[in-house]
Symmetry: C2
Subunit: 172 residues, 2 copies
């Protein structure tokens, strides 16, 4: 006798309706676009960034409320950059394609595929795509509950601009 696999013993732990397997997702990837994931603007407004797009992989759609974090993929076109910002929450960034540089307060570091960056709370940061050919693509994982980014004031910007390597790279 064939068991009915739609009413499996496994699904008893389900909270309602669909089974754990049905609530699971396998998002296939083709050229850094994930199946069923919309590509969006990096931020809703502002001009303090350039050539940036985002895909919210897991954590923001209905049925993805369980993890305490969101997994997003960002892509910066050649020459593009994110906004120079800081906040109380941390970022974990893992580069998937291209190369670039990251500003971390007074630090400037080169990044390339699979570099893992821990952006500690309150570190002012900005990512740059430095290849002329390839976009810089990276995962950025953040807590679901988090504060909004803050942008540096004039004093902080003046301080950063006194550091030659940062001054050369910085875009605001």
């Amino acid at each position: 006798m064939q068991r009915d696999h739609t009413t499996a013993p496994l699904s008893t732990a389900a909270t309602s309706g669909t089974s754990p397997a049905e609530r699971s997702k396998v998002l296939h990837c083709k050229e850094f676009r994930w199946q069923g994931v919309e590509e969006e603007a990096y931020k809703a407004e502002g001009s303090h960034f350039s050539g940036a797009r985002r895909q919210a992989l897991i954590g923001v759609r209905p049925g993805e409320e369980a993890p305490a974090f969101e997994t997003r993929y960002f892509e910066l076109a050649p020459g593009g950059y994110t906004s120079l910002e800081q906040h109380a929450h941390a970022h974990v960034v893992i580069v998937l394609r291209g190369c670039g540089e990251v500003i971390l307060d007074q630090r400037l570091e080169r990044i390339e595929p699979f570099t893992c960056i821990y952006i500690a709370p309150h570190a002012l940061h900005q990512l740059h795509a430095t290849s002329e050919q390839e976009p810089l693509g990276f995962l950025c994982i953040v807590d679901r509950e988090r504060d909004r980014p803050q942008y540096p004031d004039a004093t902080t910007l003046a301080w950063l601009r006194e550091i030659p390597k940062i001054a050369r790279r910085l875009r605001v």
Copy 2:
């Protein structure tokens, strides 16, 4: 006059001692080994997995307490597999190298670089490296606070073994 960059305005948000930039980390990667990250056994004990190693990238060392999640990298040697398990916490998996298959209860899905898998709470899951040449390497992100894995009972295993595609792939 040159400002002292070790006592920058940026560091006022620091909780103590080191600055946000100093608490940030840039872990460079060479052939899927991250600088300063130890490679460990996949699990402390057991024989219900094979050929598996882990690197805890961010979230477990001192100074990495801020994020509510841990970012780990796992690698399965060709033919290797993780333990067949389920738990109340979710997993987000992103494949970085190699190819394989994932069991999600009664589902079996092929995975390859950059496939993103959301393993919903209570989904029984097992990852397999199916290439004969290359390891299967993947990021696995989990909540910092999480329950311990549970292994399937005899009834559940019997149910899974009635599904031919799962029966062929399953290892316990």
